[in-house]
């Protein structure tokens, strides 16, 4: 009997499409969530279904050929799910770095101060050649303490390495900002600090990799 894969569905946003204005317009949010993210999910479900068929048929080349599609669309689903959660309206308590006391302390220990961290993060984001994401990642130490690092990924590659916990990510695809910022992506990066959900960031920082992916399990 063929294995039937889980089917994923679009997770609801925890806020209205216009809740991140003026930093991200409602038009961008609506297209980004209801169209772009939704397409990743539709394509992921199709790829997983094809994988199940190929697997049941003992079609190894077919299964291997599907891997890039699963990585791309699965990564798109993971990344956007995490992204919506790591944003919050600017006026909310969650958008204040003081909502993440342990994380901000670790950031200071790693980069000296918050401004230096933001500068390093911005430089990494603006250095992406093409589409991709920038992430603040906690790397769990096997023998040493956990450490923080800035990671950029191409296209929809997700942060799923062993012991890597994505704390927050910024979508640097042009669709994430173009309707509002046009070619001015530096301004998008500057403004996104106003809407980072530090409460979520703190939870992810204090949690494990599996905890960060709870939202995905909930959307099956």
């Amino acid at each position: 009997m063929a294995y039937k894969p889980h089917t994923y569905s679009l997770p609801p946003l925890g806020y209205e499409y216009n809740a991140l204005e003026p930093h991200i317009s409602a038009q961008i949010m609506e297209l980004h969530h209801s169209k772009h993210h939704n397409t990743y999910i539709t394509s992921l479900n199709a790829a997983l279904s094809n994988l199940a068929t190929a697997s049941a048929a003992g079609d190894v080349p077919g299964q291997i050929a599907l891997q890039p599609l699963i990585k791309f669309h699965g990564g798109g689903h993971i990344n956007h799910s995490l992204f919506w959660q790591n944003l919050a309206p600017a006026s909310s308590a969650e958008a204040k770095p003081s909502s993440a006391p342990k994380l901000t302390e670790a950031i200071k220990q790693t980069w000296g101060d918050e401004a230096a961290f933001r500068e390093a993060f911005k430089a990494a984001l603006l250095g992406i050649q093409g589409s991709g994401w920038g992430w603040l990642v906690k790397v769990e130490g096997a023998t040493k303490d956990d450490r923080l690092t800035i990671v950029t990924t191409k296209d929809q590659d997700p942060i799923v390495g062993k012991g890597e916990v994505p704390i927050f990510g910024v979508d640097m695809w042009e669709h994430a900002y173009y309707l509002q910022y046009l070619n001015g992506k530096a301004a998008y990066v500057d403004n996104i600090w106003n809407i980072i959900n530090w409460k979520t960031a703190e939870e992810r920082y204090l949690g494990k990799q599996g905890d960060a992916f709870k939202v995905l399990k909930a959307s099956m």
């Binding site: 297209l31 589409s131 042009e174 173009y178 070619n183």
Partner: protein, 231 residues
């Protein structure tokens, strides 16, 4: 390089820099570098001339902002490269390679792309003729067959990139290849016709409906440019 827009710009500069024997002296004098500056080519048509396939706003931003940034960055990193060569700093030279590839590729790709396009009044959308037309029929069955394959290739790009109709310099045959980000068509393949699949190329007009952009752009494809590049 087959693009007239590119003459006297980046590639020749790179060639000159690479073939300068006493590069230290040349770099210090500043001549080689200054003479070889890449410049933003003028478009051979107005920004609004490709409407309704591509809006004037997209064309203006794409040419005067995006392409221009590639030109500026290429010149910046080319200067740094020349300095690193003059100083025999090989680590720095190697570190600069991805930046030259990206910004140099961005300059090359866009320069070729503008030539690939033309308003209907200047032959945009008119099917190819001559040897190239024959080769397209042989390789793809028909022009529609090529468009379909090219649109499938464009739709399959994961992230930013380009699809190109290329000619294999070894066999002379034509084919479709996709390239990530701004990777330019160099080496074994010769670029004939490229379509920019970065979101900035269509988003203001088509948003997430990129298939519509890939469908519409054929109305403003300048096959004469591809014919000239075809050998």
């Amino acid at each position: 390089m087959s693009s007239t827009l590119l003459r006297t710009t980046a590639l020749r500069s790179a060639l000159r820099t690479a073939t300068t024997t006493s590069s230290k002296k040349a770099a210090l004098s500043g001549m080689t570098i200054t003479r070889g500056k890449a410049t933003l080519p003028d478009l051979p048509y107005d920004y609004g001339a490709l409407e309704p396939a591509i809006s004037g706003q997209i064309m203006e931003l794409h040419h005067s902002k995006h392409h221009n940034t590639y030109v500026t960055s290429l010149n910046n990193f080319s200067t740094q490269l020349a300095e690193a060569q003059a100083g025999q700093d090989y680590q720095k030279q190697i570190a600069l390679q991805p930046l030259i590839n990206f910004h140099g590729g961005g300059h090359i790709n866009h320069s070729l792309f503008w030539e690939n396009l033309a308003p209907k009044s200047q032959g945009g959308g008119e099917p190819p003729a001559g040897a190239l037309a024959k080769e397209i029929d042989e390789s793809f069955g028909s022009l529609d067959g090529l468009k379909e394959k090219m649109n499938t290739a464009l739709a399959g790009i994961q992230g930013s990139g380009w699809a190109w109709l290329v000619q294999d310099t070894q066999t002379g045959k034509i084919g479709i290849k996709t390239y990530a980000n701004q990777d330019p068509v160099v080496g074994q393949f010769r670029p004939l016709l490229g379509i920019d699949a970065w979101e900035h190329a269509y988003y203001l007009q088509y948003q997430n409906r990129k298939a519509e952009y890939f469908g519409a752009i054929w109305d403003v494809i300048n096959w004469k440019a591809a014919e000239k590049r075809f050998k």
